[in-house]
């Protein structure tokens, strides 16, 4: 054979690696690999970093096989086969990018776009749209379609949170399968036929379930958009910060999408141990409280026992310390109590114990429970606090209505003379009355918003809100996960643990607490459940803490 023979002649396939009893060896685009039996061609390609483009396939849903974008060539099979449904087999030879597959993909892209409105300039999906991505990667770049497009309803409200655009829809049926298989609420169906086929709701049954927002996430195009995010920001300006939802004890892993120091949306982040690909609508919209509620932008001192402030923060901290010290000296530790929230992070709660209980001598700390509704079969937990387990594990104590009650009663009778409230609103929630609070000699509140309790405080110290500070939540299953800071604190707000450290230093708290991770290192060193853990060890997906 001449030396100039081009390498284009079908080269002998490379030798297959050995496969175990429940494995198969195959080659994809000439690369040998071994995968578990039952793995699809699409998933197998993924394991070696090869994308088989797809619209309808979603790893959290059943296989529909309708978009046809993942068709690949497999030796000995006359027709192209869909990678999403074809299982890898021993000795299989797969080609995902040869001329035949490339031509087919160009065809699929053309079909998908002939009746698509191409209204990218006003579409929220632009920038994260599979049609855009795949047209750039696999499309012809032009259309041979010269006809009137099929028209369908645009901006149709199909539920409290979801807007539907029938013209952008590619009928991949991900949303239908989600409502059938995951939320099991069955609101969506495919109606009509041919190129008039359209996704829709059944009469009298809007897309109104606590998980409806997920349909927007999994919609690969701009057909389903979230009302709360529509026209808020172009997605290419958004930066996703991985975090954990604080809406309930599940601790769904999320991304906080930020732009110009605002959180514009929350989307679920895959964690098979916690939330898979999903999150609930209340959690998804929980970030909105940050802007909806009136913020506590700086420290407020309404009653001071000492000299005037040097600056706002040190003056307010001095005032709080002086008030607490006065009560402690006059009435003893028994007159000091604190209500601490299970919405706080492990770091905050640890410092609450260290500073309030161990340094200042506050005799009683209690964590109010917040329960609403029932645990559902998917994600939503009745316990609306993200860190009840964390509160118990750092020694503050699990949420306990009885212990809260005792403190509240003692405030009313005047036995408690000084009350520290962190992240709770007993006045607004009716646990305490204004009259009861008026009996206190000192009410020190640390919170991120101007709650009724904060408004009544002698000293109110502004804390960071959700998304403004980092820290760890321990979910109801004992999984420690990191919530991150996605935006800068509002005004003079500071993380609660740092406020507590600064207060503690006025009572002789030793040590230096420069960072949340440093606080967590101390938690790990002192609380057995967290032994050996660190922010690095928690990683993106969290770690189950040691059960004791």
């Amino acid at each position: 054979m001449a030396e100039t023979t081009p390498p284009a002649t079908p080269a002998a396939q490379p030798a297959l690696p050995p496969a175990g009893p429940d494995e198969v060896a195959l080659t994809i685009d000439g690369r040998p690999l071994v995968v578990k039996k039952g793995t699809t061609v699409l998933q197998a390609a993924e394991t070696i970093g090869l994308l088989v483009p797809h619209y309808c396939y979603h790893p959290g849903l059943s296989i529909a096989g309708n978009c046809r974008m993942c068709l690949v060539e497999i030796d000995k099979m006359p027709k192209l086969q869909i990678g999403c449904a074809t299982q890898a087999a021993q000795g299989m030879v797969v080609r995902t990018a040869n001329e035949r597959v490339t031509r087919m993909r160009r065809g699929i892209m053309e079909f998908l776009l002939i009746n698509h409105p191409l209204d990218c300039p006003i579409c929220d999906q632009a920038g994260e749209c599979r049609l855009q991505q795949y047209e750039a990667a696999y499309g012809a770049g032009f259309s041979r379609f010269n006809e009137e497009k099929v028209h369908a309803p645009k901006r149709e409200s199909i539920g409290p949170h979801v807007m539907f655009d029938g013209e952008r829809c590619i009928k991949c049926t991900r949303c239908i399968r989600f409502t059938d298989e995951v939320s099991q609420s069955h609101e969506l169906g495919l109606f009509q036929r041919g190129d008039h086929a359209i996704i829709g709701t059944f009469p009298g049954k809007p897309l109104d379930n606590p998980y409806s927002g997920n349909t927007v996430d999994i919609c690969p195009v701009g057909a389903l958009t979230l009302k709360e995010f529509r026209f808020k920001a172009r997605v290419w300006f958004l930066k996703d910060v991985p975090s954990v939802c604080g809406g309930c004890a599940r601790g769904c892993n999320v991304n906080l999408a930020t732009y110009r120091n605002r959180i514009h949306r929350m989307t679920p982040r895959f964690n098979p141990e916690v939330n898979d690909y999903w999150m609930c609508d209340p959690g998804r919209l929980s970030y909105q409280a940050l802007e909806e509620r009136p913020r506590l932008a700086g420290p407020v001192v309404r009653r001071a026992a000492g000299a005037g402030p040097a600056d706002a923060w040190s003056g307010a901290l001095d005032a709080a310390a002086a008030l607490l010290r006065g009560v402690k000296e006059r009435s003893g530790d028994q007159a000091l109590a604190a209500l601490v929230s299970a919405r706080l992070t492990v770091e905050d709660l640890f410092m609450a114990r260290r500073v309030l209980a161990e340094t200042i001598g506050v005799s009683r700390l209690a964590v109010p429970p917040h329960q609403d509704g029932e645990d559902d079969r998917l994600l939503i937990r009745r316990d609306k606090t993200p860190n009840g387990r964390g509160a118990a594990l750092v020694g503050v104590g699990a949420p306990h209505a009885g212990r809260v009650r005792e403190i509240v009663d003692d405030v009313a009778t005047g036995r408690v003379r000084a009350l520290v409230v962190i992240g709770e609103d007993p006045l607004g929630e009716g646990l305490l009355t204004s009259a009861a609070l008026a009996k206190l000699e000192a009410l020190v509140v640390i919170d991120w918003w101007r709650s009724p309790t904060a408004e009544a405080a002698d000293v109110a110290l502004p804390a960071c809100g959700y998304g403004e500070a980092e820290g760890v939540f321990v979910n109801f299953e004992g999984r420690a996960q990191r919530a991150r800071a996605a935006v800068r604190p509002t005004g003079l707000a500071d993380p609660t643990w740092r406020i507590l450290a600064a207060l503690g230093s006025r009572f002789g708290l030793p040590g230096d607490y420069p960072s949340a991770s440093g606080v967590f290192d101390e938690v790990a060193a002192t609380a057995p459940a967290f032994a050996g853990l660190s922010y690095r060890a928690l990683g993106e997906l969290g770690v189950r803490v040691q059960e004791t």
Binding site: N66, C67, R68, F145, E147, K171, R193, G194, D195
Partner: protein, 438 residues
């Protein structure tokens, strides 16, 4: 020698749909013989030996299809009868159902016995009101005479038959869409594998057979595999066949002949020849609207599975549509494309989008708004539909598009250069066919 009808032996008799007429002409004798003398395996072998191929369109060997059932018995097995006859140009099953339902029903019982199924579902096209009524009566009669129900003819074999009426969708004739519809869901074809023999109705092993196929099973039971295998063109094209002749012939209708009757004999002798003496044959669709068209020059062909494949088309459902020289092929194709655009289930991309696109291009051509590139565009778009869809519907539209345009290319080009239909587009209502009838 004149052909002695087998499948249509009773249809001309008054009351041919009743069990008495059926019994008088030897009905259920085959069933008696099989239940008494044969095991299911033996009878399955007999059907295999007869060489029976499915009459629904694909021509797959029936016995082999049955043998794909898993050997395990952990789930019930079902027989689904595909009586959703909807292919344009095809009307043979309807005749059997309405005129000789017991020939079909006996075949159902025999087939269920062969595949060891105790439950058959008769899925009948929604528009077949009369057929559904007649078949329901036939089932009642069979129950009353002990051919259905418990312990059939004292054999210990039980079988229940349920009639299910479709809601009027062509796609439900595709066997997996039929299963979905039967399960009460929207009739969307399933992705295969798994095939119905493994995972079919309600997730159980299922065989789907065409009405005419099952009628042939009755014949095999009556007179044996050796006799049957001698009919037609053995070894691969055996048995009698119903041909539906329509279009420009003097006597359109259903004609029975042995597999392999010459197409021209079917047209000229059975169907009485061309409708107008001065309008010679232009083209024939040999196997229902989904099959590739044959120009007159290629019509010297035998009407069996393999001969038609060799001629570049397929026997399909044997719906023979005859077109004379007055036919505008653009208009004819537009008519077909409109049907397929209307009936595409909308599930998978190439078919959903492609069928509508064909209609739009063809409508422009017929209206005189075509562009020179449209002719090649049709062929190219068809090539991107074919082979890339979930079910054979993609081929069912791609094959006509490809074959009409390639075979009659000059006529398509003339629509562009002469800015309209040379025949005046009178034969077809362009507007009505523009795919907006949803």
């Amino acid at each position: 020698m004149a052909y002695e009808p087998l499948l249509l032996r009773n249809i001309a008799k008054p009351g041919s749909e009743t069990i008495d007429i059926s019994l008088a002409s030897g009905g259920y004798q085959g069933l008696r013989r099989v239940l008494k003398e044969l095991t299911p395996e033996k009878f399955l072998e007999e059907v295999k030996a007869a060489g029976l191929r499915g009459r629904g369109g694909a021509g797959f060997p029936t016995g082999m299809k049955w043998s794909f059932l898993p050997k395990t018995r952990d789930k019930p097995r079902y027989l689904c009868v595909n009586a959703d006859e909807s292919e344009p140009g095809t009307f043979k099953d309807r005749l059997l159902i309405e005129r000789d339902p017991h020939l079909v029903l006996e075949g159902i019982i025999l087939s269920c016995f062969a595949i060891e199924s105790r439950r058959a579902f008769f899925y009948i096209r929604g528009e077949f009101h009369k057929g559904a009524r007649i078949f329901a009566r036939a089932v009642e009669e069979a129950y009353a005479r002990g051919f259905l129900g418990k312990n059939i003819l004292g054999s210990g074999y039980d079988l229940e038959v349920t009639i299910y009426r479709g809601a009027g969708a062509y796609i439900c004739g595709e066997e997996t869409a039929l299963l979905e519809s039967l399960e009460g869901k929207r009739g969307l074809p399933r992705i295969k594998p798994p095939f119905p023999a493994i995972v079919g109705l309600y997730g159980c092993p299922t065989i789907i057979n065409n009405v005419e196929t099952l009628a042939n099973v009755t014949l095999i039971a009556e007179r044996g595999a050796a006799w049957y295998a001698g009919i037609g063109r053995p070894p691969k094209n055996t048995g009698p066949k119903l041909y539906c002749v329509s279009g420009h012939v003097k006597r359109p209708g259903v004609y029975e002949a042995a597999l392999g009757i010459p197409l021209m004999e079917l047209i000229n002798e059975r169907a009485g020849g061309m409708l107008h003496a001065d309008r010679p044959l232009k083209a024939v669709i040999p196997g229902g609207s989904s099959m590739r068209i044959l120009p007159a020059a290629k019509c010297d062909v035998l009407m069996d599975f393999d001969s038609l494949v060799a001629a570049g088309s397929m026997l399909g459902s044997a719906g023979v549509v005859v077109m004379d020289q007055s036919t505008c092929m653009v208009g004819a194709l537009l008519n077909l494309a409109g049907f397929y655009a209307h009936e595409s289930c909308g599930q998978c991309t190439p078919c959903r989008e492609g069928t509508g696109w064909f209609v739009k291009i063809l409508t422009r051509l017929e209206r005189g708004e075509g562009r020179a590139e449209d002719v090649d565009l049709l062929i190219d778009v068809a090539s991107r539909v074919e082979g890339n869809t979930i079910c054979p519907f993609g081929e069912a539209i791609a094959w006509p598009i490809d074959s009409y345009v390639k075979t009659f290319r000059a006529e398509f080009e003339a629509h562009v250069t002469r800015r309209g239909c040379p025949k005046g587009a009178a034969a077809f209502e362009v507007n009505a066919m523009s795919g907006t009838g949803h």
